[in-house]
């Protein structure tokens, strides 16, 4: 039996029944990394020694606690972490030359939570530099390949996390989503990804890209694992003022395999000309599945995607231009050796340390916040943001869930869009409005296209309605059993 083929809830049962040890599981994943990492390139750092040591400690704990392991106990289950989440003692590079050798002096709150569960960390996962991008091609560290076709991108920015989960190099992973960075790579790699409601998960220790949009979330093999990992990371954090104090929920209890009471809205504007026909067709099939399962499905109108995309790139770049100011070569990170004044120290450190896309967004963001342009761009974008929120609110008076594509296309070729930023930005057209509206959405596979590439479906919920979208996704997953029918082929 290959342990890496199993989901976490399957592994957890085996651990509980003492059929396997954490050490065996962790070792199996490390072996898989050794076997596949060369082809896929999902990791920035593999922490083999630490992971095995932590697995041994977890086994000791399991042996000492006898039979009292509850259903929610995740002791000994390994995990992969996106490389923009701070890990004490392990490099946190954000896949940037700027932070190539940076080791954080503290753990992100979500990392603390993972460590509190005694979950061995397998390593840090590749991403677009500072989470800016939709293909992971903006990584300054390495190229990540899509396990379904190695010539294609895994999506981004959490491309390393999604590819690692799809390749079974990690049982699950943490990603971050500012405009689709969890959902789009999950979609392109045929795995499950959830962007929680803004404020459900602490951002403390998540290296900030756009503070009002960033959210940490799970990337998993199936919906049950997704609910389990959300259980670990959700909750108020006094270190993050924007995190909400919500009652503790066991999200796995929401997985009822029943959508008979569910009302699904299908916003027609998300199925426009820019969306690939094969993607649309597969989603129309998914709609039929939901109808079969007893859900009410209606077409509706939600004309926000285009405005949301423009708004997104203004707000995200504005916040990024300020958030990335701290990378100045003074206290940590890359410092140029070529300077004779303070200004040169700043300019050359940042010129050398940042990649093109990061620079592009800093320039855009600086521009939209400049005096004389602030009202026309940033202030207006904030107004549109309120408008987008209202439009979603209207829909959630009628529907429990909105169903849309995640990505306009399946995974594209490496290099295909890299030189065309606007094309690349359009990859986010279906996902950014969810961040703009601060609401949750899940991406799950609903089939493959004619090339065998996975197609994702996005289920969007109202604020803090994670239970609703998790159940909707779970019920669909139980019906079509994607993981049993399709596997990555590592096509070259």
């Amino acid at each position: 039996m290959d342990l890496t083929e199993l989901t976490v809830h399957e592994l957890q049962k085996k651990l509980k029944n003492k059929e396997v040890t954490s050490y065996e599981i962790t070792k199996a994943y490390l072996d898989r990394i050794n076997e596949k990492e060369n082809e896929v390139g999902a990791f920035v750092t593999v922490t083999e020694t630490e992971a095995l040591a932590d697995a041994k400690k977890a086994d000791d704990e399991i042996n000492n606690t006898n039979d009292n392991m509850g259903n929610n106990n995740l002791v000994g289950i390994p995990i992969g972490i996106k490389d923009n989440l701070c890990t004490k003692g392990i490099k946190t590079t954000c896949s940037s030359k700027m932070l190539e050798d940076f080791v954080s002096p503290y753990n992100a709150t979500v990392v603390e939570k993972v460590l509190d569960e005694k979950m061995p960390i397998l390593g840090k996962l590749n991403m677009d530099e500072f989470a800016m991008g939709s293909s992971t091609e903006n990584s300054a560290i390495k190229v990540t390949h899509n396990p379904w076709d190695l010539n294609k991108v895994p999506g981004g920015s959490s491309g390393g996390s999604a590819a690692a989960v799809a390749t079974n190099m990690v049982p699950w992973a943490l990603g971050s989503d500012t405009g689709g960075s969890i959902r789009q790579p999950a979609s392109l790699c045929g795995v499950v990804g959830l962007k929680p409601t803004y404020g459900l998960v602490s951002r403390y220790g998540l290296v900030a890209f756009a503070s009002s949009l960033d959210q940490v979330g799970p990337i998993t093999k199936d919906v049950t694992d997704c609910a389990m990992l959300l259980n670990v990371i959700a909750g108020h954090d006094e270190k993050d003022s924007t995190s909400y104090d919500t009652p503790k929920i066991d999200y796995t209890t929401s997985l009822k395999n029943d959508v008979k009471e569910l009302k699904i809205g299908v916003p027609k504007e998300f199925f426009g000309d820019g969306i690939d026909k094969e993607v649309k067709d597969k989603l129309y099939e998914a709609i039929e599945v939901y109808k079969e399962l007893g859900a009410t499905v209606e077409e509706c109108s939600l004309n926000v995607a285009e405005y949301a995309l423009a708004t997104y790139y203004i707000i995200a770049c504005a916040e990024a231009s300020s958030n990335l100011g701290r990378f100045d070569g003074i206290r940590y990170g890359h410092r140029t050796t070529n300077f004779s004044s303070l200004k040169e120290l700043y300019t050359n450190s940042r010129t050398e340390g940042f990649g093109d896309e990061v620079k592009r967004r800093i320039i855009l963001g600086t521009y939209v916040l400049s005096s004389g342009y602030y009202d026309a761009y940033y202030k207006k974008a904030q107004k549109v943001r309120t408008f987008v929120k209202q439009k979603f609110d209207e829909q959630f008076k009628k529907y429990d869930v909105l169903l849309t594509p995640v990505s306009p296309t399946t995974a594209f070729k490496i290099g295909e869009k890299k030189e065309n930023p606007l094309q690349m930005y359009l990859a986010d057209i279906c996902t950014v409005s969810i961040n703009i509206a601060s609401i949750p959405a899940i991406s799950l596979p609903c089939g493959v296209d004619s090339n065998g590439m996975p197609i994702g479906m996005q289920l969007i919920g109202d604020r803090f309605a994670e239970e609703t979208i998790l159940n909707a996704a779970y019920t669909f997953e139980q019906k079509i059993k994607f993981r049993e029918n399709y596997k990555p082929t590592f096509k070259k």
């Binding site: 954080s104 220790g205 290296v207 003022s241 701290r326 602030y374």
Partner: protein, 479 residues
């Protein structure tokens, strides 16, 4: 035109460090004077991923300051980022308040140059974080960054341009300082940088619109602020008189040279790209919260002054100087209560103690002795143990090496001679040694008595009871 034909317009931006125990966005201590970079954490050093959490005490202190300066308190306020690069600013932005400050539209009452009451309006008070410090290394030529101060809470108090003279500016600052000390939100130590003021100065011909203003920085004492304003006023009048145009610029005051130098002109004016701080939530205050703070405010200088005049019979001048500083007023009340001679305590504070502070260039809060010491000094004089001239020597001693005045007097052997026989011996000795003075006195020259008393004092090293000396001399001379 003459200088008198011009009017000076001054506005002040005062930064006061709040005396909260911890920093504004993290729980590092705010104590001054620690080893460099020992009061730091991921938040105040701006490590990647660290987030600010607003210290509620900072809001409370700022609201106190707003209420004490007659501001209206905003129930819906927020923080904004002010973006700029400098090594003492680790985030590359300061978290300040832009368009929704916590406090607005207040005023402070001062006296103008002619002693008439005048209100100086306060435009706004907002909260923000202080920057770190750069320690320039003279030997290596490099600079070292100390981030202990980064994140210490500040309030910025911005006045309207209502000030018309350097004296008014000085009075405004002293009043503001005393208010902030009274309500215990800042220790206002200029020498430690916990109170700093930037000054905006312009001049215009009387009856004409305001001139272009220049901003002055780097004044380290109230005195240098006054000097800088006077200098800048003269400079601007000179420029205008010579047909030159005043341009908006930022100037650095050089206290040694007694003049200003240009720091940056308008072209260099930074675009701070303010925008709402997305890492923090709006600051919403309830009426109850604001009223609770109002109810807890201590007695302000104005009302103390009135009380001193009405209940203790002090003159307005005396009451004014006592209440100008919380330390003075505190010493006055406590020492007065112990020794029950408020008038005497008032005199000590307003004359000799003030004089010594001036000579030593000390602030009232640097007074080394306690109210108990001061009360004891007054009592020693009142009960005749020492004379008031010895009292002055005791005071000097209190500044040098503070301890109980009783001990000082005993150690130094300064106890007053009130033994009638001992004094009579001295009187007789002096009379014998000065026959001419005796003759003068008998010839009607009353002044001779003063001379004789003085000689007796000299003989006893000031310890003789002056009242008894007088009486005994008269007794003997009239024999």
């Amino acid at each position: 035109m003459a200088k008198e034909d011009y009017e000076l317009v001054v506005g002040l931006e005062v930064h006061a460090e709040l005396s909260t125990k911890t920093k504004i966005f993290c729980s590092c201590p705010t104590d001054f004077g620690a080893e460099p970079n020992t009061h730091i954490c991921p938040v105040c050093t701006a490590m990647p991923g660290a987030l600010p959490v607003l210290n509620e005490k900072v809001v409370e202190y700022a609201v106190k300051a707003g209420l004490a300066t007659n501001c209206s308190i905003s129930k819906d306020s927020k923080n904004d980022r002010k973006n700029y690069f400098y090594p003492d600013t680790p985030k590359a932005y300061q978290i300040s308040q832009f368009d929704k400050p916590l406090c607005e539209n207040g005023y402070i009452e001062i006296e103008d140059d002619f002693g008439n009451p005048k209100k100086i309006r306060i435009l706004r008070i907002h909260i923000e974080d202080d920057a770190g410090k750069l320690n320039h290394n003279e030997f290596s030529g490099g600079s070292l960054v100390d981030l202990n101060r980064a994140g210490v809470p500040l309030i910025e108090i911005v006045s309207e341009p209502d000030i018309r003279s350097s004296l008014e500016a000085d009075r405004y600052l002293k009043k503001l300082k005393s208010i902030l000390q009274y309500i215990d939100v800042s220790d206002c130590k200029m020498q430690e940088g916990s109170l700093r003021a930037d000054v905006n100065v312009s001049v215009h011909k009387k009856g004409e619109p305001f001139g272009t203003r220049c901003e002055m920085k780097n004044m380290n004492s109230f005195k240098s602020i006054q000097r800088a304003i006077d200098y800048e006023k003269d400079r601007q009048i000179y420029e205008v008189e010579h047909g030159n145009v005043i341009t908006q610029e930022t100037l650095r005051w050089d206290d040694m040279d007694g003049r200003t130098y240009q720091m940056r002109d308008k072209e260099d004016a930074q675009d701070y790209r303010y925008f709402p701080e997305p890492d923090l939530v709006a600051i919403r205050l309830s009426n109850e919260y604001i009223e609770k703070i109002r109810a807890e405010l201590p007695e302000m200088p104005e009302s103390r002054k009135a009380r001193y005049m009405a209940e203790l019979g002090l003159s307005e001048k005396d009451a004014n100087s006592l209440t100008s500083s919380k330390t003075f007023s505190g010493l006055f009340e406590k020492a007065g209560e112990i020794c029950k001679n408020y008038k005497a305590v008032c005199n000590w504070l307003n004359s000799d103690i003030s004089r010594i502070l001036n000579e030593k260039e000390l602030e009232p809060e640097q007074i080394p002795f306690t109210a108990e010491h001061l009360a004891s000094l007054v009592k020693l004089i009142d009960d005749g143990t020492i004379s008031s001239s010895i009292g002055k020597k005791v005071l000097d001693e209190l500044f040098e090496n503070p301890r109980d005045p009783k001990t000082i007097v005993e150690e130094k052997g300064w106890v007053q001679i009130s033994d009638a026989n001992a004094i009579k011996d001295v009187v007789l000795k002096i009379l014998e040694a000065n026959p001419q003075s005796v003759a003068d006195f008998k010839a009607g020259k009353d002044r001779a008595l003063g001379f004789l008393v003085g000689q007796a004092m000299k003989e006893t090293k000031g310890k003789a009871n002056p009242k008894m000396l007088n009486e005994l001399f008269l007794e003997e001379l009239k024999k």
